[in-house]
């Protein structure tokens, strides 16, 4: 599935792209600084903050006490006073400790203070996945933030977006939450060397197709892409859409696709109930452009807490096989096809190599 256009194009891993994005954003603007637990140690958040300490020093790159709540307030205050913080959390689950600051202050200040205050901050977080992350190191909580006016939420599914969204998030004058995915850290795409921004509110059609639309959030778009390849072998052409940003959401691109295909499968990296998968389906239902009732389905985390043991964990997450089977059923109305598990296993390792 390589989309490399030239041999000379430079390929970066997701974590390198994150780091390069921050590096260039910090070079570009001396008000930008980064803080967060463990960003300055030798593991450098799985490499995603590597090189920053050496380049920018400990005034601009520093770890913090284990105080997510106050440190978020500190980032907000610094942003109000003219700085541009990037606050890093190694797991999204830990954001639950600073919801008050994020929701009651960061998201509301510009409005609540009548436009006189801005909070240009970036929150970097990661969805954990791999064996045994369990209940408290695996949550995709983007829908909680997308529910709140004043917050922006973006979800890079590949290295190109990891860099471009980081740069755009830093330039944005609002609180922007970047949801990364642990399993993507090793994935690669072509990543331009210059500082570029990926626009918010613009979905990307990863693959065109006429039979059904699959929207995949975060890493799930890659799983969906793999499913689409398997479906193609069955003669089913899925259109695969990466929303790229959750809030703002480019609904028009989805609407146009569903209007064409008449079928929609949304695959989220999260629970379904009151999630962005519900939002997307609801907007399709409300659409005045889509006249015929489309067939729709949602997939995401099982409606359980995340277990550690692999036999349950495997059943907890959607994967190319279950996505393909659901899509097949949606497209054909039939249940018959079961793809070969072996060929599905490759899925999350398969890499989409831009450029976009």
């Amino acid at each position: 599935m390589s989309m490399l256009t030239s041999r000379s194009a430079r390929v970066l891993k997701y974590f390198e792209a994150l780091s390069e994005g921050a590096y260039q954003a910090m070079e570009e603007d001396s008000r930008v600084f980064m803080m967060g637990l463990d960003i300055d140690d030798h593991k450098s958040i799985q490499g995603s903050t590597k090189g920053l300490l050496d380049k920018f020093g400990s005034e601009r790159i520093f770890t913090t006490p284990l105080s997510e709540d106050a440190m978020t307030g500190v980032a907000i205050g610094a942003a109000m006073a003219g700085q541009r913080p990037i606050h890093v959390h190694i797991r999204m689950d830990f954001l639950l400790l600073c919801m008050n600051q994020l929701v009651n202050i960061a998201a509301k200040s510009h409005y609540m203070y009548g436009g006189t205050v801005q909070v240009p901050m970036v929150i970097r977080t990661m969805i954990g996945k791999s064996w045994g992350q369990g209940a408290q190191h695996s949550q995709g909580l983007h829908s909680l933030f997308a529910h709140i006016p004043g917050m922006k939420v973006v979800a890079p599914s590949n290295a190109y977006d990891a860099k471009g969204l980081t740069i755009q998030a830093v330039r944005d004058n609002n609180p922007v939450l970047i949801m990364e995915h642990r399993l993507l850290y090793g994935s690669e795409t072509v990543v331009p060397e210059e500082a570029y921004a990926v626009e918010f509110g613009k979905a990307r059609v990863m693959r065109e197709g006429k039979d059904l639309t699959i929207v995949g959030v975060s890493n799930m778009v890659n799983e969906a892409y793999r499913a689409a390849e398997l479906l193609a072998e069955q003669g089913i052409e899925a259109e695969v859409i990466d929303p790229v940003t959750i809030s703002p959401l480019d609904f028009e691109t989805i609407e146009r696709s569903v209007n064409k295909t008449g079928r929609l499968l949304v695959v989220d990296n999260a629970w379904l109930n009151c999630g962005v998968s519900a939002e997307i389906v609801a907007r399709v239902a409300e659409s005045e452009i889509i006249e015929v009732k489309p067939k729709v389905r949602r997939m995401g985390f099982a409606e359980t807490t995340c277990p550690t043991t692999p036999t349950l964990e495997d059943a907890f997450y959607p994967n190319p096989k279950t996505i393909a089977m659901s899509a097949y059923r949606l497209a054909t109305g039939e249940d018959g096809w079961i793809p070969d598990s072996k060929r599905c296993e490759l899925a999350y390792q398969s890499q989409f190599k831009g450029p976009f």
């Binding site: 005034e59 307030g73 202050i105 203070y113 009548g114």
Partner: protein, 317 residues
């Protein structure tokens, strides 16, 4: 107005401004013209006034939902305050904030929050920005005794002390959170001793000794400005009115009228006023009266935002 003849006069002027603004708010309140809950600091004004007296415009002051005094002492616009309470377009937050979220960025008044404690780390963040920007400004953050029970208080003090940030923490300890006395909330009345363990200067004032508080705050702010790192003050005080609203409520039984009387007898507004020449006091009072009346008129005459403005300011450009 002429410059003040003394510290006493300057402090009196600041305290009197808050006092009179809040008294007028209390008077107007029953008319329902004020469109948000008001938490009056009457009786407590001397703390914000005496500490903030040492600040310059580029310094920051951060208060709470009981923040009229912090806002006014730091130079926040009186008209914009009154208009904000009226819900008018000319308010300091264009009618979106009400009394609980006052702000005046041009004067260094940090936006206030109605979620207790929440403003503390945000103030620390302002101090971090000052340090990063290489300025010699300072932040003063005011909070109630209740706010110190929130985890973010300890977290904030630790971080500010760790990073030697230019910030003064001031607790207005009125011994009450709404109607709950300290004894039902604190294991020990040792807040100042606890904060001192972070290795920062920490001092308690049990009495409304305004000049001592003023002098001490001045010393601290001086050294903070020079890079010594944060400091802490705890001032015992008394809330004269009900927690929220324009009335006294000693008849509700949760605190004694005796205590109220004792504190009223020590009213800094009165005692300081007595130290001024009749003439100077008259001049100050008159000027304040004019300002307040003008602010009320301004608020009354301003217009409400129109419904179409609802969607303004959700996101910054």
């Amino acid at each position: 107005m002429a410059p003040y003849s003394s510290i006493e006069a300057r402090l009196y002027a600041s305290i009197a401004l808050t006092r009179r603004v809040e008294e007028i708010i209390a008077d107007i309140y029953p008319s329902d013209k004020i469109k948000s809950p008001v938490h009056l600091a009457i009786g407590q004004e001397y703390i914000a006034s005496s500490v903030i007296d040492h600040l310059r415009e580029s310094d920051f002051a951060a208060g709470t939902y009981r923040g009229h005094g912090v806002y006014l002492s730091k130079g926040g616009d009186v008209n914009a305050l009154m208009a904000e309470l009226y819900g008018k377009k000319t308010g300091c937050a264009k009618g979106r904030a009400g009394s609980m979220h006052l702000v005046d960025s041009s004067k260094g008044v940090v936006g206030m929050s109605a979620v207790v404690g929440t403003g503390i780390p945000v103030a620390v963040g302002h101090a971090l920005a000052i340090k990063q920007q290489g300025r010699d400004d300072v932040v003063v953050v005011f909070m109630g005794d209740g706010a110190t029970e929130e985890g973010c208080f300890s977290e904030s003090i630790n971080f500010a002390a760790l990073q030697k940030l230019p910030i003064l923490f001031v607790v207005e300890n009125n011994r009450l959170a709404i109607h709950e006395p300290l004894t039902k909330r604190w294991a020990a009345d040792t807040l100042t001793e606890r904060v001192a363990t972070y290795g920062i200067p920490a001092k308690r004032f049990k009495e409304p000794d305004v000049l001592a508080i003023h002098a001490h705050a001045g010393d601290l702010i001086d050294t903070i400005r020079k890079g010594a790192g944060p400091a802490f003050m705890e001032c015992h005080t008394h809330r004269w009115f009900e927690h929220v609203g324009p009335n006294e409520d000693y008849d509700q039984g949760y605190r004694s009228l005796e205590e109220g009387k004792e504190w009223r007898a020590k009213d800094v507004y009165v005692t300081l006023g007595k130290q001024l020449s009749k003439d100077e006091k008259y001049r100050i009072d008159k000027s304040i009266e004019e300002q307040v009346m003008a602010a009320v008129e301004f608020a009354e005459n301003s217009s409400f935002p129109s419904p179409e403005e609802l969607y303004d300011y959700v996101y910054a450009n």
